[in-house]
C-alpha cells in the first residue's frame, strides 16, 4: 500500500538517517522475523515503497550469497575472507515471503549442533506447561506463566518445535499469541479430541478465575 505513495511524502524517510540506512533497517527486521514476511509487509513496516524494498532485498540476497566482484583489499581487512565471500546465512523468498535461514551448505554442522544435547523426553517443566495448555486452551504464554509462577517462553518454544502445540491466533484484548494443542498431541495421547481428556476437579480455577487466583496483584 505504501508502495503507491511517492517517496517524498513518506513519514519514515528518516530511516535513511539511521546508521546503515534502509538496508540495515530491513536487515534488522529480517534478522528477528520468525515467519517469512511479504514485500508488502516489509514495505509497510519500514514505510518505504515496495519497489525500494524489493531492490534492497535483492541486494541483500546477493550480498549474503557473496559477491563475484573482488574487493582488492579484502586480505588486509580480514584473514577469513570478507566482503565477497558468502555469509553463513541466506535470504530466501519462499512462497512470497522473505526470511533469513542458515545456509544450506552448513546443514550438517548446524544439524549436529542442534541435535547435541537434545533428548527424546520432555522435561517436567515442559510436561506441566503442556498440561496447562491442553486444559486451558487457547491460552497465552503470560497466562501459563501466571499459573506456573515461572517464565515459560523457552518451554513453549520447545513444545511448538516438537509439534505438540501451535499458534491459535491472537487474543483480541491483549494481542498476545494464543496456543492450543495439535492433532499430533492427540495422537501421542491416544485420544480423539481434547474433549476426551479426563475431567479435572471442578474446584480448580478456570481461565476466568486465573486473574483472581494467580495474578490479582499484577502490576
Amino acid at each position: 500500500m505504501n508502495g503507491q505513495l511517492p517517496e517524498s511524502t513518506l513519514p519514515g524517510r528518516n530511516v535513511h538517517d539511521l546508521p546503515g540506512g534502509a538496508k540495515a533497517a530491513l536487515e534488522a527486521v529480517l534478522m528477528v522475523l520468525d515467519q517469512p514476511a511479504t514485500e508488502d509487509e516489509l514495505a509497510a513496516g519500514l514505510e518505504l515503497p515496495v519497489d525500494a524494498i524489493r531492490a534492497i532485498l535483492a541486494e541483500l540476497e546477493r550480498e549474503y550469497n557473496g559477491y563475484t566482484v573482488n574487493a582488492p583489499d579484502k586480505e588486509e581487512v580480514s584473514t577469513a575472507g570478507f566482503g565477497s565471500s558468502p555469509r553463513g546465512f541466506e535470504l530466501r523468498n519462499i512462497a512470497g515471503g522473505w526470511r533469513i535461514y542458515s545456509r544450506a551448505e552448513f546443514a550438517d554442522i548446524v544439524g549436529k549442533y542442534v541435535l547435541d544435547g537434545q533428548t527424546a523426553r520432555l522435561t517436567q517443566a515442559a510436561l506441566e506447561t503442556l498440561a496447562v495448555i491442553a486444559y486451558r486452551q487457547p491460552v497465552s504464554r503470560a497466562r501459563v506463566s501466571a499459573i506456573r509462577g515461572v517464565n515459560v517462553d523457552s518451554v513453549v518454544r520447545t513444545l511448538a518445535q516438537r509439534g505438540l502445540i501451535e499458534d491459535a491466533g491472537t487474543d483480541p484484548e491483549s494481542g498476545a499469541i494464543l496456543y492450543r494443542t495439535t492433532s499430533y498431541f492427540l495422537e501421542r495421547m491416544g485420544i480423539g479430541s481434547v474433549a476426551d481428556l479426563p475431567q479435572l476437579s471442578p474446584h480448580l480455577p478456570g481461565l476466568e478465575g486465573i486473574a483472581e487466583f494467580y495474578d490479582a496483584d499484577r502490576m
Binding site: T119, A131, I191, Y214
Partner: protein, 270 residues
C-alpha cells in the same frame, strides 16, 4: 514529570513503601531527618488517612497503617533528637538512639537500592530496544529431532494438569507489616490503656505516656493508638513550641468510651 511540584496526595499516590514516603517527606520539607517537624507531618498523615477512608477500599487501610508506622518512626527520631548530647543515661535513651541509628541505616540502604533500581530500569529499557534472533527451527532441522518418548496415560496427564493448575499460594489479603514488627503489640490494647490513663489525668505529655514502655515497639504502638484516638476525636494535641513536649488532652468524655470503638484496621496481626 507532568507536575514538577506534586502535592502531598499526588506524591502518596505512587509511593512504594514507608521508606519511600519518608524520603519524600524529608525531601519535601527540606529538613534534616533529625529535625522533621512531627506536628506538620502528623497533620498531613491524618489528613491523608481521612481522605483514604473517604475513598474507601481495603488498600486504603493498608496504606494508612504503613504511614502510621512511619509516623511512629519519626516520633522515635524526634525523641532521640531531644536527648541532649552526651546525656545518655538510661536504657530508654539508648534504645531511642539505637532506633534512630537503625532507621538511618535502613533509610540509607533503601535510598541506595532505589537509586540502583532506577539505573536497572533505564538499562532494561535501553536493552529492550534490541531484539534477539529467536526463530523457530527450520523444518529440516526440526525433523531431525529424536522421536519423543511419551509414556503418560491421559489419567497421568490429567494429574499433572491438576497439580499445575492448583494455585500455589493464597492471595495475600492485605499488605503485611509483620516484618516491621518484632513481636505483636496490639494498638487497640495500647489505645485502651492510654484511654484509661487519660480519663484519669488529662492533659499528659506524650513523654509521660510512653515513660513505662518497655520497648520501642510499645512506643510505636502508643503513638499509633494516639493517632487513632485523635481520629475518633477522643484526644486532642497541643505543642507550645516546635520540639516542645506534645501534650495530649482527653476529649472523649468519661466512661462512655472504649477501645472497642476503634476501627478494626489496627487489630493484631494473626
Amino acid at each position: 514529570m507532568a507536575d514538577p511540584k506534586p502535592g502531598f496526595e499526588v506524591r502518596l499516590a505512587n509511593f512504594t513503601g514507608p521508606f519511600d514516603l519518608l524520603l519524600g517527606l524529608i525531601a519535601k520539607h527540606k529538613l534534616d531527618i533529625t529535625e522533621v517537624a512531627l506536628a506538620s507531618v502528623t497533620d498531613e498523615f491524618i489528613k491523608y488517612i481521612r481522605k483514604l477512608q473517604d475513598m474507601g477500599g481495603e488498600w486504603a487501610l493498608d496504606e494508612a497503617s504503613e504511614f502510621l508506622v512511619i509516623a511512629a518512626t519519626l516520633l522515635d527520631l524526634k525523641a532521640a533528637r531531644l536527648l541532649p548530647a552526651g546525656e545518655v543515661e538510661d536504657d530508654e535513651d539508648i534504645a531511642l538512639l539505637e532506633a534512630r541509628d537503625l532507621l538511618f541505616a535502613r533509610l540509607l540502604q533503601y535510598k541506595a537500592f532505589k537509586q540502583v533500581a532506577g539505573l536497572l530500569g533505564e538499562t532494561l529499557h535501553q536493552e529492550g530496544r534490541r531484539f534477539p534472533r529467536q526463530v523457530g527451527l527450520e523444518a529440516h532441522f526440526a525433523a531431525m529431532l529424536p522421536e519423543l518418548v511419551w509414556k503418560h496415560t491421559p489419567e497421568q496427564f490429567a494429574a499433572l494438569a491438576e497439580a499445575a493448575l492448583r494455585p500455589k499460594a493464597p492471595r495475600p489479603v492485605q499488605v503485611g507489616t509483620s516484618h516491621l514488627h518484632g513481636s505483636p503489640v496490639s494498638v487497640k490494647e495500647q489505645a485502651g490503656l492510654l484511654g484509661l490513663r487519660l480519663q484519669q489525668e488529662s492533659p499528659q505529655t506524650f513523654r509521660a505516656l510512653v515513660a513505662d514502655a518497655d520497648s520501642t515497639l510499645v512506643v510505636v504502638a502508643r503513638f499509633l493508638a494516639l493517632l487513632e484516638l485523635f481520629r475518633d476525636k477522643a484526644v486532642s494535641f497541643d505543642q507550645l513550641s516546635p520540639l516542645a513536649d506534645l501534650a495530649v488532652h482527653w476529649t472523649g468524655g468519661l466512661g462512655d468510651w472504649s477501645a472497642e470503638n476503634l476501627s478494626e484496621e489496627y487489630e493484631e496481626q494473626p
